[in-house]
Symmetry: C2
Subunit: 335 residues, 2 copies
């Protein structure tokens, strides 16, 4: 059921089997499985996730390559709700481990916000990441190209950059390294730091060895039209010809609500999980971009399958077997 | 490109980056990724795989729940070919490890077969399993219900059996155990052995404790219409009322072509793989139902992503960096 401030009262006494933080591809996969295992689950979706920005999804089996993320999210949310999942648009502020249950405090509404608390036996962290973009005064100029010809994922979109003149936009010296991998798809690479970091002599030499020009002045503006980039103008007046680019400035992780929970093993900002997407906390699972591994839709979707299945196994194994109801006859006849 | 006996000549001298044995969901996912990494791959598909039998796919994010397996396979095959994969309808008879390459011998055509040999650096085993069905004289009677109301996968279809009168059809005493898991979805279970195994006293007692009738006579016929089961008739004349069922008779593994390859670690008929779907042989990957883990489309699709990505990493890391072509100017201007 779609929940909102108008009907959440009906769910405040519910102990969900699982609350899924994040209604992206991984969270929706988990919810579809949980619902089809007959388990009660609530998806809390803040909106504006990474997959909403995808203008196409070209490497996911079964979908038209041009399908935008927004359409898949809408379709899959409907899919999850139809199988029985609850879905709430809200922002998970805090999760408290109460031992048998989690208390999940959700902020509802931007104005006159309310802060209902929902409870569940298991928690699925599927709130993902969002890519850092170069901070320009006019962010609309960035949005005009990001997700179209200015990419954030080389695995997803390297193919579409083949032999084009490309820029790599990095925020740290380490992030410049992506240029040497992007070389597989195109050797025509210029590296931009947007004035965000110092570049040491060793890296400068490596870039020179590869023939990659380095531009350290901040970006003033992306040029192009209809989401098709043609070049980048820097604040020092330089105009670099480029029809595509890779932004490699790291990610913002939506994992703040897990930071006070004891017993979670982290690797940087990623959660360490086992082969069933279970974290080191036996009632918390982590999917997709929040855990270690490839940031790919197919991986997040499989993680959702794994987490939901393990939660079902745990709950089922702890349950008493159901009995054949005496009122329902076991009918056999002879033919 | 779609290959057939008419145009394979053009590919007999090719050394593919990878040959994918099996064009189901996992193999197609691998091929889409490989092609989009710019790698040369060949899918060899024998037809009649497990997903072809699926009448719907209800738990895969982004697809309408009623989409039949046949449609998804056709769509995804087209998807893979459009990105640049080769696709051949044939049967992989034998794989020989030549050290740097594999020689893959394919049987083409049922009559007047030919046996071309293709070569690749990597091998992706994605040939899956097929479910064993109860052997009746009239197999069409089984096909009329299998995949519709007579299921082979509890994780996929348990939900659709909810509180219905169900049969579990097992071929060994161990396989009867599925009845105690199916109990989660319905407690109204009759167990049938189709006369294939002896059932010991301990299991008989356990079935009695759960209230599950046991029928050891062979199945004569499934009753129903329009793929909707209504009951099962046994050879001893008993008619059992049941509107759904789970066939749990094990699987036939399409892995014969791997049996003579040294260095592969097996767990029964499943290949042991690492977190990138790589087997213990560093140039062989295994996906989906052939490897240990859940037999789910979402898992196979993710496995394809992982295997293709690891192969790309291996090949890329062993390659020389590409150079900026002197004929392509690096254009900057001042504005």
């Amino acid at each position: 059921m779609k929940l909102s401030s108008k009907n959440i009262e009906t769910r405040l006494d519910t102990v969900y089997d699982a609350i899924v933080v994040g209604g992206g591809m991984g969270g929706l996969s988990a919810a579809i499985y949980l619902a089809r295992y007959g388990l009660k689950c609530l998806i809390v979706e803040k909106g504006k996730g990474r997959s909403l920005w995808m203008q196409d999804l070209r490497n996911y089996v079964g979908l038209d390559p041009e399908t935008p993320g927004r359409d898949i999210l809408n379709h899959s949310t409907k899919q999850a709700i139809e199988w029985g999942a609850d879905h709430l648009r809200g922002y998970v502020e805090e999760v408290t481990d109460e031992g048998e249950t989690f208390a999940v405090r959700v902020k509802l509404g931007k104005k006159d916000s309310t802060y209902p608390i929902f409870r569940s036996k298991y928690l699925i962290a599927a709130s993902g990441v969002i890519d850092k973009l170069p901070p320009l005064d006019n962010m609309q100029n960035v949005y005009d190209y990001a997700g179209y010809t200015l990419h954030v994922c080389m695995i997803c979109d390297g193919f579409d950059m083949w032999d084009q003149k490309a820029v790599v936009i990095a925020g740290t010296e380490g992030q410049i390294g992506a240029a040497f991998v992007l070389n597989w798809f195109t050797p025509y690479i210029s590296v931009l730091t947007h004035g965000l970091c110092e570049v040491g002599d060793e890296m400068k030499q490596k870039l020179a060895d590869h023939g990659y020009p380095l531009y350290e002045a901040p970006i003033a503006k992306f040029h192009g039209e209809n989401h098709k980039m043609s070049g980048i103008e820097l604040t020092d007046g330089t105009l670099i010809e480029a029809t595509t680019g890779l932004i490699n400035m790291g990610s913002i992780y939506h994992n703040h609500y897990l930071k006070n929970i004891e017993g979670l093993e982290w690797n940087g900002e990623n959660l360490v999980t086992n082969d069933m997407a279970q974290t080191s906390h036996d009632r918390i699972f982590a999917l997709g971009d929040l855990k270690q591994g490839l940031n790919q839709v197919s991986i997040a979707v499989a993680d959702g399958t794994l987490a939901a299945t393990q939660i079902w196994r745990n709950i089922r194994r702890a349950s008493e077997p159901r009995k054949w109801d005496e009122n329902i006859a076991q009918v056999t006849t002879s033919v």
